[in-house]
Symmetry: none
Subunit: 411 residues, 2 copies
């Protein structure tokens, strides 16, 4: 009888469909139940299935904390704040002690009332450069425009803290909020002061820029202020390679996920047409993943548009992107010489238009898995599968054992 | 209706088949699926079934840490290091602060290259006596030969530490390793120094012994050195009796498991023919367990050979010992007036020849259990059982409630 040696190593692909999980809504079905998904169903039939609480039951995960958990990093310990992922995803360099923010170009009137939180979804690399490199009270500000109105901002200097409140009100019509310290400490007070000075300066410096004069002439909204939120504080952490021993790469369109990947030491690949939106090129992502698998042990593939459709309450749109994932990604990846894991980072039910704590379906296909009786990959069918109900934090440990990168505890 | 009083107490037998869990390999089946097991299947059909992560999902357990967990002792808190179990299993006395090791007779050449890590699996009580009682730097050494090449060694003296590295390289052909302190402390340095002196002395004292001269003449490997590993440090812990209130006994062949049992305060029974190997006398073990049940509330029965076959990649051998367990042990124990729990301490898939984190099947049969629809005792069938997916640490608490030894939390 032929048996394999215990030193055997295997590769793996983890496909995370953002906000994949849902609740029954149209004809008593979830989008995943309603979608035609022959490839996902084939995975379920040949693999082992279950439900997964990405953080823990009843906890509604954000996408950032959810991804940390899925990669085996307890978010209660390792979550650095969203700004860090935004800055890393924007390819900005971070040093220990830097405080980073998610930033938006926005439009305000001269009383600081927010007219559009996203400046008509229209940012400007040129305007970002006006503010990039500013120094305020000995702290250097870096600002980078990524896509549309989105930016990342990094503060570097002594004694900064992530524990400050958001300036972004999340509602048009409100006034720009003062940034406030969230703890009673010198670092928090200093950081809040600099944030407030920066926001004020951003208005003063941007409002009269020629770019904005032109916009006004064309009847467009000026990008005349920067709003900050999601303060995060950077510190290097133990990488996936250091923890598990395997190399990893990331195929994603949206910058938040690239940021998470970089934070964990993955190589982030640039994929043409990977946009994180409905028009994303899944063919290119599949090819990039297969290519990455030649050099790396573990490839993380992320698709954002399932979540977008959940937030928009768009059942048909969510069903459509799931069918594209099935055909264009899973159909191509399922024959790779690697474990294939498909799951979501949380549920975004179209009936709620927000994240929810409903557990997500998960399937693992590959050598030696205990194939169960589940035949369909959806939120209901997988519940009777061989994985039962897992926690997100356990997934990477389970995968690392399948891949042969394990450490025995005891003898 | 007649109901029993809440003060009723019940007995229980816990049968742990070492390394029982497996992955599908021959004809898509695990050894447990392939084996003819009418008695185990009868337990499943009348009992409640599930999967169990003995430590936690994705964690690959050693046998020692796994057993602690199964008996309700969190190994991350209570694991004293393997040497302690080896010494207790060898009936050596331990005092607080003693440092104990698993030891092997081995064969080295005069350059300290390891020719055979087990001296041809041939130890010697007489050679062990040569080293037993040595004193090095005020520390007394006790050495006892248990079975074949296996020994346990205990160091007693001031300021010793378990945080020292193994001398055993685990690979023939390597040189004997220096023992190194694993922490920067005086106790670690002292312990490592004494270990290195002892290993050197063991060679000097054993190499020229008449026993070894005879062996060389007969073309056999001399047992000319002692290799140490798995340092452990002894301290008395709260016993099972103190924690749960019931008395317990152990029926096992292999000394590691007897050591765990003794550590937890069980009475360890001597059973003729219980060898921990393929030739183990399961009939005698069954009779010993039934006998023990008359005096004790809880009886732990251990069978080692399932694990041995997993390590050897021997599908047929594993199937065969499972069939023997079914017939000779379960067939005999199933009618005892006691709860009967059957499970493993971890998986040792024949396809991997090592421990894995795949959860183990577990069945509980006895009065009042919520019988589920599972009809077969195997890794796939039990997944849909009424116990769902448990953790090892919870098993004893569940059993203690079934047995009537519970404490209510709150009122």
């Amino acid at each position: 009888m032929s048996t394999k040696s215990s030193s055997d190593k295997h590769k793996a692909i983890l496909l995370i469909c953002d906000g994949l999980g849902d609740r029954p809504s149209v004809d008593g079905k979830t989008p995943l139940q309603a979608a035609y998904t022959p490839n996902l169903d084939e995975l379920s039939a040949s693999g082992i299935n279950g439900l997964m609480d990405v953080i823990s039951p009843g906890i509604v995960p954000g996408s950032d904390t959810a991804h940390l958990s899925l990669f085996g990093y307890d978010p209660y310990r390792y979550y650095p704040g969203r700004g860090v992922f935004e800055a890393l995803g924007a390819d900005m360099e971070l040093h220990k002690g830097d405080v980073a923010f998610r930033a938006n170009f926005a439009t305000v009137d001269d009383e600081m009332r927010v007219l559009d939180r996203r400046a008509g979804r229209n940012g400007s690399k040129e305007l970002a450069e006006v503010l990039n490199g500013l120094e305020i009270d000995g702290v250097t500000i870096s600002l980078r425009n990524t896509t549309q109105h989105r930016c990342a901002m990094v503060m570097r200097g002594e004694q900064l803290s992530r524990y400050v409140s958001d300036v972004d009100t999340h509602e048009a019509g409100d006034f720009v909020q003062d940034c406030k310290p969230l703890k009673d400490g010198a670092a928090e007070r200093k950081t809040a002061t600099i944030v407030n000075k920066f926001v004020k300066m951003s208005y003063e410096l941007l409002n009269e820029q020629p770019v904005n004069a032109e916009r006004r002439q064309k009847g467009e909204l000026p990008a005349n202020i920067i709003l900050l939120r999601g303060a995060g504080s950077y510190e290097k952490i133990t990488s996936l390679k250091e923890r598990f021993g395997f190399t990893s790469a990331c195929v994603a369109g949206a910058s938040l996920y690239k940021g998470v990947a970089k934070y964990l030491g993955m190589q982030v690949l640039t994929v043409e047409g990977a946009t994180g939106k409905a028009d994303t090129n899944l063919h290119n992502k599949a090819e990039a993943a297969l290519q990455a698998l030649e050099e790396h042990d573990f490839v993380f593939v992320h698709v954002k548009d399932t979540d977008n459709n959940g937030h928009d309450g768009n059942f048909e749109g969510k069903k459509r992107i799931i069918e594209r994932i099935d055909k264009e990604l899973v159909g191509r990846l399922k024959d790779a010489d690697a474990y294939l894991v498909v799951t979501g980072d949380h549920s975004t039910p179209v009936s709620l238009k927000r994240h929810s704590s409903d557990p997500v379906p998960v399937v693992i296909k590959g050598e030696g898995v205990r194939t169960d009786a589940v035949k369909n990959f959806d939120e209901v069918s997988v519940a009777s599968g061989g994985l039962n109900r897992l926690r997100g934090l356990d997934l990477m440990l389970i995968m690392s054992d399948f891949m042969g990168y394990f450490t025995m505890y005891g003898t």
